[in-house]
Amino acid sequence: MADVILEHGPQSVSLANQIRLVAGLRWRLLRNKMRQRNNVMDMIGMAFAGILGAALVFGLSFAFFAGSQAFISRGRASWMALLFWGIFVWWQVFPFFVAGFGANFEFRTLLRFPLGRRAFYLIGLAYGLADFSSLAAVCWLAAMTIGVAVAQPGLLPAMLLVCGIFVLLNVTLERLIGSWLERVLARRRTREIFFALFVLAMLSLQLLNPLLQRYGNTAIPLFSRWAPYLAPLPGSLAGAAIADFAKNSPVDAFAAIAGLFMYVVIFSAMLWLRFAAQYRGEELSETLAATPRAAVRQPITGVTPDGLRFLSPAVAEVVRKEFHYLLRNGFSFILLILPPFMILMFTMQTSSRHHGVSVIGASRSAFFPGMMGYLILVLMSPAYNCFAYEGRGVQTYFMAPVRFREVFLGKNLMMAAVLAVEIALSMFVFSLRVGLPDAPIVVATLVAIVFTAVGQFAIANWSSLSFPRKLNFGQMRGQRQSGMAVLVAFGAQIMLGGISALLFFAGRWTGNPWLPTEAFVLLAAAAIGGYVASLDPLSNYAERKKEELMEALCR
């Protein structure tokens, strides 16, 4: 087929111009985001993050400068590998965490424009260099170069060469990992698994302290034994090259540089193949095409009885829907494993069954209600924005012939069931690790939980209608509750927690162990009465707030 030539058609754009256009696009996206009126908090957050980021980069730059100067001037050039390893780990790991918070701008969208494959590859690399992690790492490498030059000026050309290759290697590898990550995170399921693993990894950091206490002494010999195996890896090779130049062993130094360069070639080839797949139009979409009628399907009806028949149909359906959402929301699911895990962690670090009394000096009778109060604090917080994950589905509540009290009842019942299970599990873990306190404290704590939970439901329902904020499943970036909802939750929990603490202390001061229980029974009854009385006014309030609610959730 002959080429079609347009008389006044588009001209080819130079690579430099294309890079300039992409940089301009990124800047405009950022600027327009800042222009949105409701992003004042984001701007303040960004300003704080900018100040902290600058402090981190400049502080560590000084450390890298001082470290490299000291290593070279004191004849310990082989230790330079430690600095290169630090930068390498930062460069590859930090963007991985950032990716968990979602991408700002999809690089792949550039493919709709007439870019050549080579331009696409080079713009991809340039794009990688513009990240915060890359810029910080380049600053630290520059600081190291200055440090080495100050200590031994003759090493400057070698340092420049090694740093140049090291930058290319890291950018290429980071883009390679990033492009695979993009492919993996494009699918909802893998994105959520990633998110769950990420949160679990963060929680696992809590285990570091007990592990270090137990195995800390054996870690250093273990590391020494394994260190030689790191020699063929990039951080060690870069350090070895500088050390060999410092020892006047150019052959070994160039061998190390050749090793580094080999990595660049391998990673570049792999990245070229990845980008080529993207360039050809790799399909990342996860939506289904309509399936033919002839396909084998499973029966969807069963004779399962309605386990929630004691509830009204609408309330039962909201409970069911909440249950499905709970199981399909990685974040909520992790929130469920958190309480027993936290109990385990606290009791591991502060007390044991044999000691009975904790390291922090709190007795079992004070520790138990305190822990339960902490669990209520953690578990009740989502209730203050209980429509967060509904999305456009919230319209169904307003289209259906139900009063909103039934929606609240369903949601609150589900939350109460979750609380009951969590408290039971946590009590079980607590009794295994420390042992339960005396009966009056256990009973008073359980009734206090009823009082604080029911007392919070009415306030949380009001907060959910007044300060709704949409949250997305399996995403961390931009997933913030409304500031007002957080304040309301905080205020309500301080108030109810304060009342509970006062009553527990009153029992101790008066020497009457059952006094808190009696008082909490009265308060719980009042809270239940108040909650029931709040449902109708809240239904009317929901009707008045429906437009704001839908506007916030249907975006």
Binding site: H8, R188, E286, T287, L288, A289, A290, T291, P292, R293, A295, V296, R297, Q298, I300, T301, D306, P313, A314, A316, E317, R320, K321, H324, Y325, R328, N329, Y389, E390, G391, R392, G393, V394, Q395, T396, F398, M399, A400, P401, V402, R403, F473, E543, K546, E547, M550, C554
Partner: protein, 262 residues
């Protein structure tokens, strides 16, 4: 008149200084297949939201099946089915779970809900993957599910905001026959669509809204008769629509404005 299914009186909605819907008086007879047309931003979706209780009017009144919506919202909602703009689906449920949710919210018993749900999923060709979440459905599949949810309880009035958008030709044919069957059974259908050919084929009566005001209402023949032109020539709905909207001050984009294409 008692056979009016939908009646609005000076229905108005303002958003700050903007009047999105301005004193609309609609009258739709029971059993009619009614098309509600207008250019982008004319006020179609705002009107349909007010008719279905998703948006409160600033002024005016909505009466459905002879019942004042504002006074008896629950009773009225029980009689209507809606496919709203954006479809309003709970994306973390499967299709069957969502239909059960909707059916039960509308007061159907569990066996009836499950039977109808199964039949509707089969009819809409959504039954093959019962464990797939709505979030993983294509746009067309979500649209079909929203339609299934709108009809599961057997409504007497059906409000459809762009029901054919993103639906393939095969499914669109099935949907048209479903809607045709429903009108035969006396269901009133109130539909907005930008595809004028579909509206012309399905609807017996049409209203046109422009800049928030109702500029025409009646049967297709009545609207045709009101358009100037040679007698005896058959005007399509598209010609009627363009003529009425342009007469009301609507401007058609002119190709001459694109200098590089002249």
């Amino acid at each position: 008149m008692t056979d009016a299914a939908i009646v609005t009186e000076t229905l108005t909605r303002r958003f700050g200084a903007l009047t999105a819907v301005d004193g609309v008086d609609l009258r739709v007879a029971a059993g009619q297949f009614f098309g509600f047309l207008g250019p982008n931003g004319a006020g179609k979706s705002t009107t349909i939201k007010m008719l279905t209780g998703l948006l409160a009017p600033t002024d005016g009144r909505v009466t459905l099946l002879g019942v004042d919506f504002a006074a008896h919202p629950v009773e009225v909602k029980r009689q209507i089915g809606v496919v709203p703009e954006g479809m309003g689906l709970f994306e973390r449920l499967t299709g069957a779970e969502y239909l059960q949710f909707v059916g039960r919210m509308y007061g159907l018993d569990l066996p009836t809900t499950r039977r109808r749900s199964e039949e509707l999923l089969e009819f809409m060709q959504l039954a093959e993957r019962p464990k797939t979440m709505i979030a993983d459905y294509s746009h067309g599949m979500q649209k079909k599910l929203a339609l299934a949810a709108a009809v599961i309880h057997g409504p007497r009035i059906l409000f459809l905001d762009e029901p054919f958008e993103g639906v393939d030709a095969l499914a669109a044919g099935a949907l048209k026959s479903l809607l045709g069957r429903m009108t035969e059974r006396g269901v009133t259908i109130f539909l907005t669509s930008h595809v004028l050919e579909i509206v012309e084929r399905l609807c017996s009566h049409v209203a046109i809204i422009n800049k928030g005001r109702l500029v025409a209402q009646g049967s297709l023949e009545e609207l045709r008769a009101g358009i100037p032109g040679e007698e005896g020539t058959h005007k399509t709905l598209e010609e009627i629509f363009l003529s009425i909207v342009e007469h009301d001050g609507g401007e058609r984009p002119q190709l001459e404005e694109l200098s590089w294409l002249t």
